[in-house]
């Protein structure tokens, strides 16, 4: 399989994740879309690393995975705090900062 096949697969998964982030009302559903997008980026990084025989892509995707896990943990902690205060995690109803 050529490099272009993997990059196209990554672009497709990225587009699907973007669709999820834009259309989901639930904050947890939005986070799932962000997960898909970050995964697509990892596919690209590893594919470039494999086809250029450069370990930098693998190191990069290791760092991305670690940062993503921290981001998910913090994001879900924020979601739980919002749920405690506002009793909802529907993104449309979280308009506390609206002027």
């Amino acid at each position: 399989m050529s490099l272009h096949g993997y990059l196209t697969l990554g672009a497709l998964v990225f587009a699907i994740g973007l669709f999820g982030v834009v259309t989901r009302r639930n904050a947890v559903g939005m986070l799932l879309g962000i997960e898909l997008m970050l995964n697509a980026v990892n596919i690209n990084l590893v594919a470039f690393s494999r086809f250029h025989a450069d370990l930098g892509g693998i190191v990069f995707s290791l760092f991305t995975i670690a940062i993503t896990v921290a981001e998910v943990a913090l994001g879900l902690a924020i979601v739980i705090v919002i749920f405690r205060v506002r009793k909802t995690i529907e993104a449309d109803r979280l308009d506390l900062l609206r002027g």
């Binding site: 497709l12 699907i16 994740g17 669709f19 190191v59 670690a66 940062i67 902690a77 705090v81």
Partner: protein, 163 residues
């Protein structure tokens, strides 16, 4: 058709189907389970790209850790049984247009770029990875540790009892 090509098409089909299920299914809990399938399929893509170490990391951290955390969050914010767990989507047409535009832009860029020369000899990945992490990327690795500690402190701060 080589084994890699057949495997690629199989894994790509599974990955795309489960990704679509993540963003389209009504039940939020099912969406998380489909996300687990998509994450494992991504790990198999890493295997096809001859990175077995990343496959292990993907299984441990993503399919093991992230999915568990998300399930906990859903259990704390929704009732597992009952109708509240269903979720609706909004602006479906607009979202489809935006993501299709992004996809077309990326693929258009890909079509312009030429294919790289095939690489025949590859260095030992695991040994090279270990040397890179303590050599040129040592400072980045330390910064990552600082980030993880900061995230841990932030999560503890958010989860503290009200008093």
């Amino acid at each position: 058709m080589t084994v890699e090509t057949v495997g690629f098409w199989l894994v790509a089909a599974v990955l795309l189907a489960s990704s679509l299920a993540v963003v389209l299914t009504k039940n939020l809990f099912h969406a998380v389970l489909y996300l687990a399938v998509a994450l494992v399929a991504t790990g198999v893509v890493f295997l096809l790209l001859e990175s077995p170490f990343l496959f292990g990391v993907q299984l441990l951290l993503y399919a093991g850790g992230v999915v568990t955390i998300v399930v906990f969050a859903i259990m704390l914010t929704e009732r597992l049984v009952g109708e509240r767990i269903t979720q609706t989507s909004r602006h479906v047409v607009n979202g489809a247009i935006v993501s299709a535009a992004v996809f077309v832009a990326v693929v258009g860029f890909l079509l312009q770029a030429g294919a790289p020369a095939p690489v025949t000899e590859r260095p030992d990945q695991l040994a090279g990875l270990g040397r890179a992490l303590v050599g040129p990327y040592a400072v980045t690795l330390e910064l990552l540790g600082v980030l993880l500690v900061a995230a841990l402190l932030g999560a503890i701060y958010f989860a503290r009892a009200d008093d």
